[in-house]
């Protein structure tokens, strides 16, 4: 029986048992449902084996939304536990597990797939390409991310969740102080999804560097493409650091090495150092694509070209370099000398300059525009002041002497949520609303969308602004409880109210999708927002091959110029289009990685070794495989195009009236 004991949860509670049952029931329900409706074949052919960037993007999107709710449930539990002094909703151990998984899920399994979703959905369209550079690698990236996410999410019902914080500082995360397998889950799940992210980085960089439509020079790329390029450069150079750090953490825990232990020469702060060498660039990986989306949206809905294109690009390049130069500000209080702190204090503040340039450029883009307050635009407008507050508190934190007082407090928590929620989450929701019609063929309801925005914004302000104050009043982060005497009670209650509002806000998104699916008209045309870049130049929903003819580009707003100046985007005869074949191997490799990860977590060596061999066999098979892809012939293209034109012909007549 000893073998099975390690799978038990070390700190069970009724809540966990309930979730266990719920997970089992939902999984069984899904499996039975798919079997009953005979959808296995459909799923396998259309989704599990797909290499189409649009479908992979949609899978990222769905995963990100699911994980948003998982992480959100953690968040609301935390706020509830802290809503009053000496609350007994969660005990210390449970609270620790929850804030750990909240952080990891939100960063690695919500925000990352969310930005990958938009990169996948939009980038090939925006640069006029048929797919990404390595479609099958792209599928593998997704399935590795998915395997990592699933692995991490089963932790709380099998063996116990990690409980050392999303930063997992050693020695707390080492064997001496974290005796359950929780931190193994953290190490392996992040490792697997991290490899997936790295491959996406390589893939996207190659795609953008090599596959742009003719005429699209680097300085004629739309801003989202630029931001994606820079973000992926950061991914390529930051993620290997995480890979190595996780490897060392894993060997410390599983094989008894002494990288981060307190004995035999190990250095605990080396983990913190590596974690932040990756971790700080990571936040720019998240925020830069968000900046790109805002640029597209603000420009579209103020009907203006983006102001200061060159300085926008320059500031992003500068941010990408600076992002690797500031990591020490996460541990100013480690005890290094004043000189080091001064250097990193200055580099950190320096980031405010390019960021400030971007804020002003957005403001000047709005200037003299014709501003339409659609839902994506509301998020973008809300973003500007809220993110400015997040940014300036960042400058405050960068002052290292003062940081001695902010560090590890709720002030810090308020700051990074203040950048990530209006910065990243708002951008993702704006992008979701903005691109929804392109990929699903109908618009999300504006009215519900607006109430979502207001719920989230008011909720956000109520939830996080009080934390600035409690932080300055001495409330440390990650405390599961506090006494009445501290006086933190009322402000934390306010936070809880805000968090509840946000929860309602997120729920309305689901309702919106359902409502719009039922009620929204389908004849929206290919350009419902009167937008400016290439992705709107193709049909809605996008055909498999994206563009029947490769577009010819003359400016960074190719589609706008085509509409206004009469540039002709699509010239020449139709030709056969080369497309990659579907493949089941990425999905299978995802499963093998999952098995390998699981076996390592529980130190069950035989399946671990078999799974590792399986991975190499898959790679070897790939090396020998001959796969030249397939061609869509001109005749077929003509038929598909004709179908779209028929629909569009109907739309053209009602086009002017459907404009927002």
């Amino acid at each position: 029986m000893e073998f099975f004991e390690r799978f038990a949860i070390p700190h069970p509670s009724p809540m966990i048992y309930a979730s266990m049952v719920a997970i089992a029931l939902v999984s069984i329900g899904i499996l039975v449902g798919i079997t009953y409706f005979k959808k296995w074949g459909y799923l396998w052919h259309e989704w599990f084996t797909t290499v189409d960037h649009k479908k992979i993007g949609i899978m990222y999107l769905i995963s990100a939304l699911v994980m948003l709710f998982r992480g959100g449930a953690d968040a609301i539990l935390m706020r509830a536990q802290l809503s009053g002094p000496d609350m007994k909703l969660l005990d210390g151990q449970h609270y620790n597990e929850i804030f750990t998984t909240h952080g990891v899920v939100m960063i690695m399994f919500m925000a990352m797939p969310f930005i990958f979703a938009f990169m996948n959905l939009v980038i090939p369209l925006q640069i006029g390409a048929r797919d990404v550079a390595f479609p099958r690698l792209n599928a593998l990236s997704f399935w590795l991310f998915f395997a990592g996410a699933m692995l991490f999410n089963i932790s709380f019902v099998i063996g116990g969740s990690p409980d050392a914080g999303w930063t997992s500082y050693f020695p707390l995360a080492g064997n001496d102080f974290s005796t359950s397998v929780g931190t193994n889950y953290y190490m392996l799940a992040l490792q697997i999804s991290g490899i997936g992210s790295l491959m996406t980085g390589i893939n996207m960089m190659t795609t953008i560097l090599k596959m742009r439509a003719p005429g699209m020079t680097l300085m004629k790329m739309p801003m989202f493409t630029w931001s994606t390029l820079i973000a992926n450069v950061i991914i390529v150079f930051a993620f290997p650091v995480l890979t190595v750090a996780l490897l060392m953490g894993t060997t410390d825990r599983l094989f008894g090495t002494h990288f981060f232990t307190t004995t035999n020469g190990g250095m605990d702060m080396l983990w913190a150092n590596f974690f932040w060498v990756w971790g700080h660039p990571e936040v720019y990986i998240l925020i830069l694509p968000a900046f790109g989306l805002y640029s597209e949206i603000i420009s579209t809905f103020s009907s203006r070209n983006l102001y200061g294109y060159k300085s926008m690009v320059g500031s992003m390049v500068l941010i990408s370099l600076l992002s690797f130069l500031v990591w020490t500000h996460h541990f100013f209080t480690m005890g290094q000398g004043a000189l080091t702190n001064s250097i990193f204090s200055i580099t950190t503040m320096a980031i405010a300059v390019p960021t400030g340039v971007k804020i002003f450029n957005w403001l000047f883009t709005l200037w003299k525009g014709k501003i339409r307050f659609t839902v994506p635009m509301l998020y973008s407008i809300g973003f500007i002041p809220l993110f400015t507050i997040g940014g300036v508190t960042g400058v405050m934190l960068a002052m290292s002497a003062a940081d001695y007082q902010y560090h590890n407090t709720m002030f810090l928590v308020a700051h990074f949520h203040n950048t990530i929620i209006p910065g990243v989450v708002f951008a993702m929701l704006a992008g979701l609303t903005y691109y929804w019609p392109k990929f699903f063929g109908f618009m999300l309801n504006e009215k519900i969308g607006k109430s979502t925005f207001w719920l989230l914004t008011v909720g956000f302000v109520l939830a996080f602004f009080p934390m600035y104050i409690t932080g300055l009043d001495g409330q440390a982060r990650r405390m599961y409880t506090y006494s009445e005497a501290t006086g933190f009670g009322p402000l934390n209650m306010l936070s809880f109210v805000g968090a509840a509002l946000m929860a309602i806000g997120f729920a309305t998104i689901v309702y919106n999708v359902y409502y719009s699916y039922k009620n929204s008209p389908r004849n929206i045309g290919s350009d419902p927002w009167d937008a400016r870049s290439l992705e709107w130049a193709t049909h809605t929903p996008v055909p498999e091959y994206n563009f029947a003819r490769v577009p010819q580009v003359f400016s960074s707003e190719a589609f706008w110029d085509a509409k206004k100046k009469g540039h002709q985007l699509f010239k020449g005869e139709l030709k056969d289009i080369h497309m990659p074949n579907n493949s089941g191997v990425p999905f299978i490799m995802g499963i093998i990685f999952f098995i390998a990860g699981f076996s390592f977590i529980f130190a069950i060596w035989i399946p671990a070794v078999i799974a590792l061999i399986g991975i190499f066999v898959c790679m070897a098979l790939r090396s020998f495989e001959l796969d030249h892809g397939r061609h869509i012939h001109v005749k077929e293209i003509k038929e598909i195009e004709a179908q779209y034109e028929e629909v569009q012909g109907n739309e053209a007549r009602s086009h002017t009236t459907t404009r927002v």
Partner: protein, 93 residues
């Protein structure tokens, strides 16, 4: 047979052997730490550059610019990571 051994590659190989021999000076002679490290840094980086240009043909295609940018960007970030970490964890502690 001769066409299989182009002068460029042979010279590159000989030069890399010479660089290795120079680096070995730090082992076989009694140099101060500073001088030794300087020699190692210089030989290692020349050696790496040699491989990049002579053997790996980094600049030959029309993507040469992207390739050089990527590699140099990587090297810069790598140096920042190495020396930044040493500054934080060893030199200023």
């Amino acid at each position: 047979m001769k066409e299989l051994f182009p002068a460029k590659q042979v010279m590159g190989f000989v030069f890399s052997l010479i660089l290795t021999a120079v680096a070995l000076l730090v082992y076989f002679t009694d140099l101060s730490f500073g001088v030794g490290m300087t020699i190692l840094l210089v030989t290692a980086f020349i050696q790496a550059f040699l491989q990049l240009v002579v053997f790996m043909h980094a600049g030959e295609s029309k993507d040469g610019k992207s390739i050089y940018t990527t590699i140099f960007y990587g090297v810069i970030i790598a140096l920042i990571t190495v020396f930044g970490t040493l500054l934080i964890l060893l030199w200023d502690m």
